[in-house]
Amino acid sequence: MAKYKTESLRCWDKAKELRQGVYDGIAKARDEGTMIVAGGTESAIALPAGFDMEFLGGEPYGASCTFMGIKDSSKYMKYFEAAEAAKFPRDLCSYMRLGFGSFLCNSYAFGGTYPKPTFNLQTHICDTHGKWYQIMSELEGVPYNCVDYVPFEWEIENESEESKDLKRDYVKNQMLDVIDWMEKVSGKEFDDEKFINAVNWECEATNLWARCCVVNRSIPAVMDEKMMFSLYVIAVLMRQRKAAVDFYRELLDELEDRAARGIAAFGDERLRLLHDSQPPWHSLEIFRYLEEFGAVSIGANYSFALSGGWAYDKENETWFPADPPRVAGVELKTREDACAWYANWLLEYHIVLRSLRFSGRGKNQRMHDIVKKWHVDGVMMHLNRGCEGTAVGQMEMRYYFSENNIPSLTYEGNHADKREFDLPRTKAKIDTFMETLGVRKFSEE
């Protein structure tokens, strides 16, 4: 009999429906000739929400290509091959290459032809982002603009308020400029109320998801990471929509209820691991493989914070869910208010964007905080060749864990390109890691 009771998540089907809805919406916009905007979802995704449009986000699209190709990878392999035939090097961001390939094959992974956007809009959050959609725009022949972004430093570096103000103004003013530009290239009027709503909803949705992650400190964990991928993606895809806020409210209630009743994501939890970076989307079975040892991944900085929403508690040197405007007692009345709030939200509370650029002491501190607060026994780090940003500082993190006697395992791979991943070798590494922790498979006990 299992150690803990398990129950399937009531919200599960709703999550699937919402996610599919995004991609169906894009297909519909394509077929009806209505507005599509493309760009990274790791960006100021609320910006184009002042228009009635569908947003095609490059990262989740790439992840979907790979994930949907688990049984038959031929379709998305064609995308990679097309990008390589067009001479794009293989060590570039694998999401980006899938995007290139998808366009070059005139194919939409969810059926039909490639949904060409009205314009591309990006936020330059890593070396790749700003250039990615520059290239897409050249290929597609559509207008392109980009908000440049210089993150706040990690709190431990004590950045001056003056430097932060410069960054706030820089991002805010670019946002205002980009709104004017979007009106010009689309020929449509920007609706400030829609935009303000989108900013509010983004902040509320990410706050709620952060609170869901906090619930996972419970022993046993109420979510395991494989499950989390289907839940966090709602924030990734559509955090600026009310439906995301409603969904996370429901999910939070359900998770808190599960925690109160001791319901586990995995009934035989006896070892808690923290993952790092995107998972190998083509080989998510490694999370199920962990269960053979009684191990569960309780999450990652990536899954917790990919959509933002984490504030810093200086006194206790820890992070907690950031308050959205309405909770913080702030009413966003104008476009300028919204841009100012939004710029600060992305700078101050989006620690994943920060960690794509700045690692060092700050990132180590953040990781250690998660290890402590989520009662983690070991860390499993995906040295992800497909994403430079998430790989920034990983080796130093490993060094730091080693110095602090936190067991860690690294495995090399690529989040979207299966050719760079060796599943048997990875499983062998997991076996070895478990052995060093003194843990055997249940079947071998």
Partner: protein, 256 residues
Amino acid sequence: MISAGMDVGAKTVKVVIVKDGAIIGKGIATAGLEATGAAGAAWEQALGEAGLARDAIEKVTATGARREEVGGYDDAMSEVVADALAMHVAVPEARTIVDVGAEEGRAIKVNADGKVLDFAVNEKCAAGAGAFIEAMARAMQVSMAEFGKLALESTRTIPINAQCAIFAESEVVSLVHDETSRPDICKAVNDAIADRLAAMSRRVLLQPKVALIGGAALGIGLQDSLKRGLDLEELVVPENVQFFGAHGAALSASEQ
């Protein structure tokens, strides 16, 4: 108790038989695409040396990437923990183990009790594994034994790119065309491989004493290069470098 360990590696199968903690028989055979024949030959050798029949073995633990191809064992364990167990017996003062197999190089950090604290495995690139060394020796048209001997005759240091095996091979070809002396090239190749191993080893924050094992550890050129690459005063190369995995597995079998 009489136990045995079997290490089915990428290239060779090793069997070690242990009685009351001491090794009484060893066997090694080269596996081709199919390992069962080699396993049989290794078993035969080991049992012959021990003067025992197969059914005298009370328990067999296996390790190595290809063990499932061969079967015939009661339990399995990782090479990393097996190496650590055997090293604790052979060289108890060792705190870092560098194991260079045909396809994989590993660095293992152990404490005074022989417990594994950390480990690293060379990742994508082949330049840190035994197969690359053999490929280079073939390209130079020398035997593995000569390869090491020649390296020690060199007095020059020629840098070779150590990250990518393909690049490294092109550089060797360039050196050959430039009529660089064979000792210098052999040393340069050993240095390049040792650099890759050293880089990997540093990931476990290595501590002395450092011990080198695995098939490639037989190379005297590599031993010299690694000692210099890691700035070591002493690099321990124990007896029976190829048998640590199998020995550790045998010890593990006798514990249970």
